[in-house]
Each structure stands twice: as structure tokens, then as C-alpha cells.
């Protein structure tokens, strides 16, 4: 046996190291990650655990802003701080230890408080792809939130107290091309085959195939044949209702020459495809909404590639009445040639549609006076392939949420089991910190009086929102005072994993981020997400 030739693309060390994640977000996702810059405000246990799950997969660089010194309690809950760090800069200690995790990542720190940093260098935080803040007092959160909102930099605000935690995403606009949906119906467009596809499918006289050929014909060809027959018998209409579809399924089932024959695998698959693949191909509502978005219809020279490509896509949809075909087929029992020729038809159609969208997007971009390399062909191809998954998120500003009454919060307060109660209590906790400069229940002999003080503050919030103050149970307020601001490592680690992945979503523009407030209750091991 000859030895293998060396030309094979055996992976380099970096690809090997990141192999398990490259299988998820791909080389293009990794590239975005590796050029990203993340800022962490406050290297609490929660904060360093978030950075850990970002440094390991290989972000480009991080900066920690923290004016605190390491305490004994920090060492007890924070894996990245050691006893010998006690009394030294928390930002520096955490930076040095985190950098040991991955030599590919750069990191630096500012040993100063974030409000001071902001007042010294106005736009300091505007240079990051994501800013993550933990244990940030309200009086610093407000100006930071406003500043990042106007700079359109995503902000993740997190807090971990005892068995409770929350993550809030503030983002003005975020676009996603690859949402990675769990289940997606195949995109076959059998109701509107393009000429080449129709010609190909009509070559096969399905009912008159020999035994051998019959067992090798792809489900798609079978389905198309009987769909045509159905339409011929039903005034050209597509099957819509369950009974319509059952009729089509029976046509396929009954097509076997011998009644006692069991349905062959490909026929079985054709029957299964009926439910999802004979519908009228149309543009999904959420995609139409994106195409009609003002950002898509009123482009400027500042428009992002996403919106420029959207505008090109919009024109195609207007003339064709459908999104470009996805270009991939699910596997079907068939012989190689019939399957591959079908697969190639879909692939080529997708390619040619993507090419024309690319050409159009380039024209639009040029007309806007944008640089010629602002649109890449690879991106357009990706965009077309995932055209039915596109997502646009528009959030709101945390500062606005704090300064106005929040009717969406009160909506959930009628349900006594809702985790929204903890949002209200955590807001109360923040007021408590602002007012008394300590956590409620921080000192053993203050728990009971702090319960009363916290209840008063929560009552004030609820009155401001026009909600009855009785809705918050004393037990829940008492539980939060029991914690006395304790940060439990495992609760922080759970929230940190979640927050780190939210940051990865924002950086890679893949997967759907939270909208917009996540609450975790480790007492009952439950969680909930609210739009605030």
C-alpha cells in the first residue's frame, strides 16, 4: 500500500483546537470572533466566568474595567482570583489569569471605575463589539446605557445574587443571516418549478416505471407527478386542507400495481413530504416585514451590507414572487444519478439566483457611493441560502426602561408564578444599593430591617408603574435579603455561560439573541424571558 500523499488538507493546529466549535458556527463565524473586541466591566465571579467562555473559543481581545481591589470573599467565589491577589487590582489579577487560558487572545485592563473612565475618555466604550457589565450600580448604568445606545454598541447587563440572576440585552439594531433553526421544511418549490426543473421532472412517467426503476425514483419526482395529477383533477389548485392532502397521499399510496405490496421507502417518503412540501411557495411574513423595512427601502451610503443585499433581494422577490430557492435537498431513497441530477438542478438554480442578487447588490452599493469591496460574493451566497431565516432585532434602551413606567413589566405581575417578580425585586435591590450603598441583608443583624426598607423601595417602584403594591410576596423579598448580596459561584457560572453565548451571537451574527431580559431562578431551576 502506498503511503498517503501529503497534499491532503490535514488541519492546522488552530483548526484542530477549535474543531468542535467550527462545526457549529463555521470558519466565517470564527473569523468574526477572532477579530472581535469585548469589554467587561467589573471582574466579579460572574464577569470572569463570562470572559472565560469567550477567551476559550478565541475572541480577538478583551479589556477589563474595574476599580476594585481583590477581597477574601472574591477569592471564595471567583476562580480567576487567588489568595496572593488579595488587596491588588481586581482588573489586573483577572486579566492575567484569564490570559493563561488561550495564547491566541489578547487582553488588557483599566484599574479604574467605569464612571471615571467614561468621564476621562468620552467614547472609551464605543470601540468594542460588545460591552458586558456585571454588578454595575444604577447611577453608572444609566449614562453607559445611553452612550452605547447612541453609538449602537450592544450592551449586556448581568447580575447574580444568591439563587437569582438576570441578563438584559440592550441593542439598537441587530441583524442575523444564519439563525440555525432546529427544524426547517425543505424548500422544493414544486408548486412553481422553474422551466429546467419542470422539464426534468416531467421526463419520468412515474406510474409506468418498471419494478426496478420504481424503487429508485426519488420521492420528489413521485410527489411532483401526483401533485400534477391532483391539480389536473382539482382545477389547478394545490391541496390545502388536511383532507385535500390526504387525497394526494392516497393517490400516492394507491399507485402501486399490486394492492398487497408494502409501500417502498421512496413512496413512503413522498407521502411524508406531502404535509410540508406542496404548499404554495410564498415569502414568509417576517421576511416580507424585513423587505418592507424602512432601512431596506431607504438606503443611504451608511447602509450596512445586510440592508443593501436586502434591497437587491427585495427586487427579485417583487419580480419572482418568491425567495431564491435554498438549493439543498434532503436525502431521499433513490439511485445515485437521479438524486444527484435533481440536487444539481436545485443547486444551480440557487447559484444563478445568488449571482444575480450579487450583481444587483453591487450596483446598488456603487450607486450609494459605497466602497466596491463592501459587498462580498460569499456573503451574498450565504444570505440567499438563508433568506428565509433572516432576522432583524430592534431593542430598547435600558435607561429609558428605568426612567419610564414599565407597563410590559406590570403585564406579567398578575400571574403569581411569574419570574417577573424577581425583576421587580432586583430593580428594588438596585435602588437599595443606590440609597444605602450596601446590599440588603449584607450584615447578619440587618436582615429584618432591610426587608422593610427593600419592601418600601419596591412599593415605590410599583406605585410609579401604577401597579398594586401587594403583588410582591413578602417571602420573595425576604429570600433576596437572606442572600445579603452573596454571589454563589454555580449560579454565576450558569448565567455566565448564557451571557457568553449571547455575546457570541452578537459578534457572529448567527443564532437569535434574547429579547431582551432573561431571569434565572435557581431555587426552582426555572427561567423566563421578558420583553421590557
Amino acid at each position: 500500500m502506498s503511503s498517503p500523499s501529503p497534499k491532503s488538507p490535514e488541519q492546522n493546529d488552530k483548526n484542530k483546537k477549535y474543531d468542535r466549535q467550527l462545526r457549529l458556527w463555521g470558519d466565517h463565524g470564527q473569523k468574526l470572533l477572532e477579530s472581535s473586541k469585548v469589554c467587561l466591566i467589573n471582574a466579579t465571579a460572574l464577569g470572569t466566568e463570562i470572559l472565560k467562555s469567550l477567551v476559550l473559543p478565541g475572541i480577538g481581545a478583551f479589556t477589563i474595567v474595574d476599580g476594585e481591589k481583590v477581597t477574601e470573599e472574591d477569592v471564595g467565589s471567583n476562580f480567576f482570583l487567588d489568595e496572593f491577589h488579595i488587596g491588588t487590582s481586581r482588573a489586573q489579577a483577572a486579566t492575567e489569569t484569564l490570559l493563561e487560558l488561550n495564547p491566541d487572545v489578547r487582553g488588557d485592563y483599566i484599574d479604574d471605575f467605569p464612571d471615571h473612565v467614561m468621564s476621562q475618555t468620552q467614547d472609551f466604550f464605543n470601540h468594542f463589539n460588545v460591552v458586558i457589565a456585571t454588578a454595575l450600580p444604577e447611577k453608572v448604568l444609566m449614562p453607559l446605557s445611553k452612550q452605547l445606545w447612541s453609538a449602537n454598541i450592544p450592551l449586556l447587563v448581568c447580575r447574580s445574587v444568591g439563587f437569582l440572576g438576570y441578563v438584559r440585552l440592550q441593542i439598537r439594531e441587530h441583524t442575523v443571516i444564519e439563525a440555525h433553526p432546529d427544524n426547517e421544511a425543505p424548500d422544493l418549490q414544486l408548486d412553481r418549478p422553474w422551466p429546467l426543473l419542470r422539464e426534468h421532472l416531467e421526463q419520468t412517467d412515474v406510474p409506468n416505471l418498471g419494478t426496478k426503476e420504481r424503487s429508485h425514483v426519488p420521492a420528489l419526482t413521485i410527489l411532483y407527478y401526483y401533485l400534477q395529477q391532483y391539480r389536473n383533477e382539482n382545477g389547478g389548485l394545490l391541496p390545502k386542507t388536511y383532507s385535500d392532502k390526504e387525497k394526494l397521499r392516497n393517490m400516492i399510496r394507491d399507485s402501486l400495481p399490486n394492492e398487497n405490496d408494502i409501500l417502498e421507502e421512496n413512496y413512503e417518503q413522498a407521502v411524508k413530504l406531502v404535509n410540508v412540501c406542496v404548499n404554495c411557495t410564498r415569502v414568509p411574513n417576517h421576511i416580507q416585514k424585513i423587505l418592507d423595512d424602512e432601512f431596506c427601502t431607504n438606503l443611504t451610503s451608511e447602509s450596512s451590507p445586510f440592508w443593501v443585499i436586502c434591497a437587491a433581494l427585495r427586487e427579485m422577490v417583487q419580480s419572482e414572487g418568491a425567495l431564491p430557492v435554498r438549493g439543498s435537498l434532503p436525502d431521499m431513497a433513490a439511485d445515485t444519478t437521479s438524486f444527484i441530477s435533481l440536487q444539481q438542478l436545485y443547486m444551480r438554480q440557487a447559484q444563478s439566483q445568488a449571482e444575480s442578487i450579487y450583481r444587483r447588490a453591487m450596483q446598488i452599493s456603487r450607486a450609494l457611493g459605497q466602497s466596491p469591496d463592501s459587498i462580498s460574493e460569499t456573503e451574498v451566497k450565504l444570505f440567499c441560502k438563508h433568506a428565509s431565516e433572516l432576522q432583524v432585532f430592534r431593542g430598547n434602551c435600558v435607561a429609558d426602561e428605568y426612567q419610564t413606567s414599565s407597563p410590559s413589566a406590570s403585564l406579567h405581575l398578575e400571574d403569581p408564578e411569574s419570574l417577573m417578580f424577581y425583576y421587580v425585586i432586583l430593580r428594588g435591590l438596585e435602588s437599595f444599593i443606590s440609597e444605602y450603598n450596601t446590599y440588603p441583608g449584607q450584615f447578619d443583624d440587618h436582615v429584618e430591617p432591610d426587608v422593610l426598607k427593600l419592601k418600601t423601595l419596591i412599593g415605590k417602584l410599583l406605585t410609579d408603574w401604577g401597579c398594586p403594591t401587594l403583588v410582591i410576596s413578602d417571602d420573595r423579598v425576604h429570600e433576596v435579603c437572606r442572600y445579603g448580596g452573596a454571589e454563589l459561584h454555580s449560579v454565576s457560572a450558569m448565567l455566565a455561560g448564557c451571557t457568553a453565548h449571547e455575546a457570541i451571537k452578537l459578534i457572529t451574527h448567527q443564532y437569535k439573541p434574547i429579547n431582551n431580559t432573561f431571569i434565572y431562578d435557581a431555587i426552582t431551576s426555572t427561567s423566563a424571558t421578558f420583553v421590557l
Binding site: V75, V167, R482, L488, H489, A493, H501
Partner: protein, 442 residues
């Protein structure tokens, strides 16, 4: 530990607040006191199974939640592809035992913590080892290993007059991840749903029909499987079994797969895909492992301290679309193979036709058994008879002929008991065969 007593007071201040103060949502039996922290630090012994993605996180989480008597068991060594998430390992650790490197890292980092590593298989230890623990946490990627430890903990249960002795229960917390999905569950062996009770939650592995692989490939995976299953045994380029970690092997498979794919006009064979298929790689990221391990560690803490009611009993997690968790109570299966105490019966409609190999196939393929390599013995006329055992070469040769005999030919009767031993359990399963009455059978 004495030289750290000075800082202990403040260092564990976070935990003290939760353990030394009463709370409205704590377990009914919770009595706040400083003794609880003493218990988890000095007495409570926790076993972590697996020192991989979940295991590294679990060791860190448990050591910072105050646990000091921790054992960790893992048979694997560290590879480069572990480093994107298994954060206790560095490049220079590649090739060393995961359990040993992880344990020494934690012991160095968290003063006073005593992690004891075991660089071996879980099957290398018997019940005397497992009996010493208060709680077992699993961070495994193998269902077989999960079922084995599940069976082990069930075999440690004491029943007196049919009543379960509560002190013999060792709770098992099981975590698992795949990409951005994961689960965490709490199992009280003998009390709540065990791994075997919920076997149907595990999807069967994807396999491709042999005729597709051999004759009508359509996907790149079909081409790779062809090289793996048909071409490799035929050409056997290095005279050994495929080693997915040997780049020469993977490269050979890659090139042959590419050749086959181009013959059939199939696109999409890449080195990465070949590696994925050959090694059956499950994608993994740091964040999901962090989340699931943290939930598991929180449950260990709750069980050990009673400071909160534990998870009842199953949580699923997914953060592809927002962050989603769902908590539900998995139900104990009345006739569970592993934990039910109910003798298992198996109806055989055609013992005159069914061959021993069909019975073995049934044990492997049916959703209820999902065995891997069962060995079968029985009693015929009061004497022990080996029907088939594949794992010992000499016995395999002696019993191979039995595979093609029918159950009747082997002397099995209605009510015969077959003892089945398999990788999926440390315990031998007794199955009583039920044949139709003789008039019909003959």
C-alpha cells in the same frame, strides 16, 4: 488546612449567608447552622464522573461551592481539540490523563480542596468504591457509561421487606450537552426516574443502510461510510483497525472518500466531515458546558445542604433561539429494566422460528433494551448453560453455532430464564421467556 483558617471566615462568606440564615424557600428539613458548611467541607464526598467539558466545569464549580472531598474518574487523555472548552488543560498537558491534570489544577488553585483522580474506566471499580460517596455527578458523553453507573447505584440500594432503606440512596446528577443544547437531571435511585426509565429520550444513532453505502451513495457521508466499512477491511492499509486520532488513517479515508464521491458526482466531502464521521464527533462549546455543569453543581449543593428543594427532576436547555429552559418531572417506568424490581418477561411468538441471533438482535435494536453486546446464559434442567458470549474468544468459538439454532432447539421453554450480561449495566438481567401455548407453537 489550618493555615487557611484565618481567611476562611470571609472567604466563604457568600456560602455562609445562604447556609446560616433561614429562608422561605428552603427544604422543610433545612436548619441553618455553621455545621452545614463544615459538613460539605469535611465529610461530604462527591464523585465526578468524566473530566472533560462538563467535568472540568464541575470540579471548578463544586470546589467553589465549598466541597473539598471530591473524586474524579476519567479514562481519557488530553487532546488538542479539548482546549476550546476544557479549561483546566494547557497545550503542554496534551497526552496526560484528564483526571490527573484536572485534579492537580484544582488542588493547586483552590486551597484546601482535595480532588482525588482516578485514571481508569468506571467499570474498573466495584461497589465498595462507589459506596463511599454521598453524591455522584456525571459529565459523560456516553449513554452506555451513564446506564452502567445508574445500574451500579441501583445495585447499592437496600430493600428490607420490600421497603427501600433511604440511607442506601446515593443521588445521581446527570448532565449532558450537544452543541447549544443540554440537559441536567436529578436521579434518586429507586425513588425517581432513572436513566433506563427514560431510555426512549435518547435518539438512536444515525446509520445508513448497507445497500445505499455499497450501491447508491447520494451523500458525502455515504462515501465516507463506504471507505470505513467496506474499503478499509478489504485493503487494510496499515494492518490495524481505524484509529480516528491517527492523521494518516483519516487522510487515507479522506482521499478514498473523495475518489468515490467524484465517481458518483457527489459534492461535499471535506476533511472535517470525514473526521466527524470517522470519530462520530459531537460539536461542543465552552458556554453550554458551563451552563449545564453549573446547574448540576447547584443541584449537588442543594442536595448536600437542603438549603433549597432540589430540581424535580429534569431540565432541558437550548440557547440557539434566545435562552430556553424547560423543567419537568420525568416519570419512573413501572417495569424499568434497571430500577423496577419487577421480573422482566419477554413474549416470543415464534420460538420454533426465532433463532438465538434474532433474540440478540432484539436486545440490541429494541428501544426498551438498547444493549450493545449482550452475553446470554440460561439454566437447562437445572444446569447452567452458556448460550452465547462474544466477549471471550474461546467461549465465542464454542457457542457460535448456537446463533443459528432456534430457541426451541436450544432447549428453552415457556418460563425459561435467560441471564443477560451487557456493557450497559454492571448487573445481570434475568428475563423470563414467555412462549405461546404448545398447541399453537407446534
Amino acid at each position: 488546612m489550618s493555615d487557611h483558617q484565618g481567611v476562611l471566615q470571609n472567604r466563604w462568606g457568600h456560602l455562609r449567608k445562604v447556609l446560616e440564615r433561614p429562608g422561605p424557600f428552603s427544604h422543610p428539613e433545612f436548619e441553618p447552622s455553621s455545621e452545614i458548611l463544615d459538613f460539605i467541607m469535611t465529610t461530604c464526598k462527591v464523585l465526578v464522573i468524566g473530566a472533560g467539558g462538563l467535568g472540568c466545569e464541575l470540579l471548578k464549580d463544586l470546589s467553589l461551592m465549598g466541597f473539598k472531598q471530591i473524586h474524579v474518574i476519567d479514562m481519557d487523555i488530553i487532546e488538542l481539540s479539548n482546549l476550546n472548552r476544557q479549561f483546566l488543560f494547557r497545550h503542554e498537558d496534551i497526552g496526560s490523563s484528564k483526571a490527573e491534570v484536572a485534579a492537580s489544577f484544582i488542588n493547586r488553585k483552590v486551597k484546601g480542596c482535595q480532588v482525588t483522580p482516578h485514571y481508569c474506566k468506571i467499570q474498573d471499580y466495584d461497589e465498595t468504591f462507589y459506596r463511599q460517596f454521598h453524591i455522584v455527578v456525571c459529565g459523560l458523553d456516553s449513554i452506555v457509561a451513564r446506564r452502567w453507573i445508574n445500574g451500579m447505584l441501583i445495585s447499592l440500594l437496600n430493600y428490607e421487606d420490600g421497603t427501600l432503606d433511604q440511607t442506601s440512596i446515593i443521588p445521581m446528577i446527570d448532565g449532558g450537552t450537544e452543541g447549544f443544547k443540554g440537559h441536567a437531571r436529578v436521579i434518586l435511585p429507586g425513588v425517581s426516574a432513572c436513566i433506563d426509565c427514560t431510555l426512549d429520550l435518547y435518539p438512536p444513532q444515525i446509520t445508513y443502510p448497507l445497500c445505499t453505502i455499497a450501491n447508491t451513495p447520494r451523500l458525502p457521508e455515504h462515501c465516507i461510510e463506504y471507505v470505513k466499512i467496506i474499503l478499509w477491511p478489504k485493503e487494510n492499509p496499515w494492518g490495524t483497525a481505524i484509529d480516528g486520532d491517527d492523521p494518516q488513517h483519516v487522510t487515507w479515508i479522506y482521499e478514498k472518500s473523495l475518489e468515490r464521491a467524484s465517481q458518483f458526482n457527489i459534492a461535499g466531502v471535506t476533511y472535517r466531515l470525514v473526521q466527524g464521521v470517522v470519530k462520530n464527533i459531537i460539536p461542543a462549546v465552552a458556554s453550554t458546558n458551563a451552563v449545564i455543569a453549573a446547574i448540576c453543581a447547584t443541584e449537588v449543593f442543594k442536595l448536600a445542604t437542603s438549603c433549597c428543594v432540589p430540581l424535580n427532576n429534569y431540565l432541558v436547555f437550548n440557547d440557539v433561539d434566545g435562552i430556553y429552559t424547560y423543567t419537568f418531572e420525568a416519570e419512573k417506568k413501572e417495569n424499568c429494566l434497571a430500577c423496577s424490581q419487577i421480573p422482566q418477561t419477554l413474549s416470543i411468538p415464534d420460538p420454533d422460528i426465532m433463532k438465538l441471533k434474532n433474540l440478540i438482535e432484539l436486545f440490541c435494536d429494541s428501544a426498551a433494551f438498547q444493549m450493545k453486546n449482550p452475553g446470554l446464559t440460561t439454566y437447562v434442567n437445572g444446569k447452567n448453560k452458556t448460550l452465547y458470549i462474544s466477549t471471550i474468544k474461546s467461549i465465542e468459538e464454542q457457542t457460535r453455532d448456537n446463533l443459528n439454532k432456534t430457541l426451541l432447539e436450544l432447549g428453552l421453554q415457556d418460563g425459561s430464564e435467560v441471564m443477560v450480561a451487557d456493557l450497559t449495566s454492571p448487573n445481570v438481567l434475568t428475563i423470563r421467556l414467555k412462549f405461546p401455548n404448545k398447541n399453537v407453537a407446534s
